[in-house]
Point group: none
């Protein structure tokens, strides 16, 4: 009902304004803690008005998340600009992924809700789920691609990508919850170390 295909420029502006408000509110209160009312008043609207632009709270959430993932992919891509050495590019891509979430903890939260069933009642719908997954994959593929350039076959390159994803995610979790300090460790250093070890092992084998 909301998205009729052809949207006027003005409407697009308003959408963006609402999305921005949503991002902030979600960031401040977490996802479950945020209310449509809060988003609306943050954006200078009545709650009812949002329903012209988004079908539901979940719809709104999904778009916020999509934007986040797009920004992530862009971030990773841009980090590679001007870099040609494959080893360097692998390292850079993985760290860009890691750094994006390190610097934007709320985007991490956003992502977690995608992974977990956070939004059970109706779910986000298959189409949307697929689109979001693709966006995430797109942000990660450079890692796999560079590994292949280094002579690793496609399957193993994929596994390496998954490993990087997993390690980054785990460290970020520890970082954003203060646990890493408890252990006297530095998330960045450990991430760097992890990738370097991986690359070293790649060369040995």
């Amino acid at each position: 009902m909301a998205k009729k295909g052809a949207r006027t420029k003005a409407a697009e502006e308003k959408r963006k304004c609402i999305l921005e408000a949503a991002r902030e509110v979600f960031s401040d209160n977490g996802l479950e803690g945020a209310s449509l009312r809060a988003v609306a008043s943050h954006a200078g609207y009545t709650p009812a008005a949002l329903y012209f632009h988004f079908d539901s709270k979940e719809d709104l959430y999904a778009e916020v998340l999509a934007q986040s993932l797009k920004k992530l992919a862009t971030c990773v891509q841009e980090s590679l600009d001007g870099k040609t050495n494959a080893e360097d590019r692998l390292f850079t891509a993985a760290m860009a992924f890691f750094d994006f979430y390190r610097r934007n903890p709320r985007d991490l939260d956003l992502g977690f809700y995608l992974f977990r069933g956070g939004m059970k009642p109706k779910g986000l719908g298959k189409d949307r789920d697929f689109a979001l997954n693709s966006a995430l994959e797109k942000a990660l593929t450079p890692i796999s691609e560079e590994a292949q350039k280094l002579g690793v076959n496609k399957d193993r390159a994929n596994l390496l990508m998954v490993d990087c994803f997993a390690h980054a995610t785990g460290l970020l979790l520890l970082l954003h919850t203060g646990r890493i300090r408890m252990f006297n460790a530095s998330a960045v250093e450990q991430m760097e170390c992890y990738i370097n070890d991986k690359i070293e092992l790649l060369k040995i084998r």
Copy 2:
């Protein structure tokens, strides 16, 4: 924590029954998403009845979580029974941690809610938070201890433990959300591989 010291056997049974119901509901919906009503009706009780056994929703949640962490620590400890070789023990402890959450996804969910800010607004109170953190640490320390037996200094052993924790966590996240299949990967194999690589690197250096 909730009630008197001497509890009858029957009462203990009922408590357990409620805790079990709570475990299911909390792990499905998280602390904020879960309602006392749901827990109560799941356990076959009236909401008001729960207050006889637990002081509040958070009290109930904390106890569920504490039990889960205790089970985890026990699991890790038992996995080491009869093993004497340090390398073997390190591997076993890390995999026991990983396997516990692999086989008990609900407990992983439970744990995530502790880590993530989901409950921030009020938190569980410092005492409880500290106790829960200690319980978690207790489950992980064997990893550090065995690394030290292998000649690694205490600080680096600690980092290694953190790394294992992070990697396991990341993989479990991928596993329980079906993402790992998307990538054609096996969580168990990748965890095993990760630890073995770590051990190998330990020996090289």
Copy 3:
């Protein structure tokens, strides 16, 4: 106080309707004893609907009380219209105060809840408390003013006003609880008698 400045006429009507319902329910049960549900259903609304017109139960109560006091003050003022003799005006003002509450027992109940500690724990907030007190004082001051015109100094005039307030209140309490009948007395006559005695004493001294 609850909502925006510009209110439509229809909205104003509904507000009044709710306030009227609240008046009845509050005066029957007091602030603590009355439930929003009761007010709502009395007004033909859902509880949630009230929150569109008033911020909270206490907000609603305060507004009901404020209206009542305003009506009281108006009543006293109007009773003096066209009267010029100070003695007459003093008598009239005091009796107008008394008669207002005699004829509107619900308003008396409302007022009692303000006076009594019934609501202490949270109170209505200082601003509101002050406003309500002022409204009450405004209704009583004519008594003091007329006494001063009769040559009484300001302090003594004030005390006289307080005395009238106290006596009226006491008699009204006896009246509305049926106790006065028990004693074979007439509240009106005793109030009249009391003021006349006061005036007489004023002249003697």
Copy 4:
């Protein structure tokens, strides 16, 4: 069910203990704010235990109130000990009534709930209501009696008693809610003044 007529001495003790607890709790939290649970735990009992001694919360309240009124009557009686002059006795009795409630504000609250319909749902029942009213009257009658000794006929003596009751009540209300300070007045002085005026007028006529 509770009061079987013949009560053991031990039971009587316990009753007293509970009543005392109830008095305190009612005093601290007001009547509506006080819960049976609070009374029970204050008395070192379980809520359920109270039901062996009292039929209901209202029953408990009624007994607390009855005790209060008995104490009031005693207070008034004792104030007259050794006094023989009728004028003196009238003044003393009225002031004793006033002073009792001045010094025990919570007993005043207790009393108000009797007058107002505070306890609507079931009421206190006719018998009890009558008994409580009698107790109150008993505390006031000395005023009427002494007036008669001064030559006033019974009816007028009664009215005088009612007037004293009303005036005292009104002043106490102002006193206990801090209003009297607002007016720069002293409740005691105004009460004394009121009775003296009354006596003076008695003599003039």
